[in-house]
Symmetry: C2
Subunit: 358 residues, 2 copies
């Protein structure tokens, strides 16, 4: 997978958005800049050239937006920072990728269309000695075995009432909060953006269905040397499209506890008009029932995404979660994730999984 | 997919078992002979040559077991009838397949290793004008949309406490019982053996996980002109390995009713020592809860697989289901499937889905 930054201290990324700067479409770019901004030297987006990432994408402060790779001469890597509908490569971007290869840059892509399957790009990369990382490619072909699970590792999994409610962000922020208090915690990425940020993980939604549970189990095996792992969730058990992915991840990773993620004010499945989301109590009940088919598990907190909510709306939602469910609730951007991290540790103590002293 | 027999009245199959005649390993061969025996002209199995299919496999009566393709000169098709662990092609079988191609036979295979990806076999087949059907190959790349579902079509789905408990057989037998009483019913295959028998379907466990629900929905769309469809289940929501497949199929096909399949006397997940199966009441509750996340659904009967049970044991299990669950229960081989077919029709009437008069 992509070398983690500790192994590659000189990673200097140009993030390609190429005109697609709407939050929904550029969400990979935005998250990579948010969490690896220190490694990002420029955003490549000709229509917005001359401005800053902060102005154009809302994150990244003064990182320059440039019109060509020539304006980022120190770069070591081009990262395709959008997820176009269908996952294919916009035609004009092929030339940009070819230029990146010619300039000696590695290229990282989460598109469904694999760069390494393009004979010309593959040959050029081989000739130039650079690497093409197709983050979605995987060769998972092993079922789950339920062997070698380290009992002491506390497994947290983020789940959601829907897609795109902030499961990745909640996972990362909870891990950061744990690490700040000296806990050996690790974010376990399961989607393309998370993998780009963390440098490892498994693109679970691209795994052949027979091997999804197995791939999730192997993510646990590969990371359980840490005291706490936060396995990024995908989709929702309420989602007509993606529930297979959600269940496989939930069952294969056998979490001890869940953080339920929800966007305040969202009532319907994103992009599927007329399909209602469950209430939070119903969601807690259903996720706990599903998880407990495999391993004892409880929801320990709610991560509220207040993207479109006023402070008053967010506060009301928080209060409702506390009243109805007796659980801590917060927006990890507006309130931080400490309350959720505490809830995870408290649950660990009740089940005898206490992190080793730092 | 494989042409259905009504379109290809001259289908004359040689089933390759090649020495692997144990029921677990030869289960594809056994089911194909059971349900398409009229099309099977020989079993190719040199170690057992000279005997009959009935003697060697327990099905197929006097169908001859032969040592070479030359002994089945009328054949039009070679069907690979085993599912070896890992799904790969035993080395010595390649020569047999090459010979089949040279003799002008189509080749049907459910192996994970695709015949058409073998350059030599593919070239030989093209040159000879025969077809290589890799039943597991699929290009499913569409999510579910929840559009165009025909409300009047009654959707039955078979589910199980475990793998290999008879979901395919229960589906086929219930459909046959329905057809006998004049109902326009159709078996919808989701696994390799079912596809080989029925001539169409989708190998759901080989679909990329993001598209499993979508593939299941498309099976409904493709077959809902029938009054009743019986969608073959896969795996189990209690199975540590395959629950992603099971849920995707359950959610994508949106069944109105379920028949729960269970092997009498089986207490642990097949091949996973120490992992207990649920009680039948628990299984009914969990499957209904899972299905109802998407669509109103009830378990209407239990298909008991009495493979290893005495008559007395089977009768006791039947009585227990009736007492504990108030549901009809039968072994479709020993008692027939009429009771289950009746329960499906009765449920259809209660929800206003009544088949059109024949």
């Amino acid at each position: 997978m992509i070398p983690a930054s500790e192994n590659q201290p000189t990673r200097r990324i140009v993030v390609l958005t190429g005109g697609f700067t709407q939050p929904n479409v550029a969400k990979t770019a935005i998250s990579v800049i948010r969490y690896r901004g220190v490694d990002v030297v420029a955003v490549l987006d000709a229509p917005h050239a001359g401005r800053t990432a902060g102005e154009v994408l809302g994150v990244g402060g003064d990182i320059p937006v440039v019109a060509s790779l020539a304006e980022a001469p120190t770069a070591t890597e081009l990262l395709v920072g959008i997820a176009p509908p269908g996952g294919a490569l916009p035609g004009e971007w092929r030339a940009i990728i070819a230029e990146a290869i010619a300039r000696g840059l590695d290229v990282v892509s989460g598109l469904h269309t694999f760069l390494a399957d393009d004979p010309e790009l593959a040959a050029a990369a081989a000739a130039r000695g650079v690497r093409l990382f197709d983050v979605r490619r995987n060769l998972e072909r092993e079922v789950a075995h339920r062997r070698g699970i380290r009992a002491e590792c506390l497994r947290l999994h983020t789940v959601g009432t829907d897609c795109a409610v902030g499961k990745m962000v909640a996972s990362i922020e909870i891990v950061r909060s744990l690490v700040r208090r000296g806990v050996d915690a690790k974010f376990v990425a399961t989607g393309q953006t998370g993998i780009m940020i963390e440098g490892d993980g498994c693109p679970i939604d691209c795994v052949v269905s027979d091997f999804v549970n197995g791939a999730a189990e192997r993510l646990v095996l590969a990371n359980q040397q840490h005291d706490v792992i936060a396995i990024e969730g995908q989709g929702s058990i309420f989602h007509p499209r993606y529930s297979a992915v959600t269940y496989g991840l939930l069952h294969g990773s056998m979490p001890d506890c869940l953080v339920l993620c929800h966007e305040v004010g969202r009532n319907e499945v994103w992009g599927m008009e007329g399909i209602r989301l469950p209430s939070l109590p119903r969601a807690v009940e259903a996720f706990e029932a599903a998880a407990n088919l495999m391993h004892p598990c409880r929801v320990v907190g709610v991560a509220l995404n207040g993207r479109t909510a006023s402070d008053a709306e967010l506060e009301a939602a928080r209060r409702r979660v506390r009243d109805e469910l007796g659980l801590p609730a917060c927006d990890v951007f507006r309130h931080g994730a400490d309350e959720l991290a505490e809830a995870v540790l408290a649950h660990g103590r009740t089940i005898g999984k206490e992190p080793r002293p730092a």
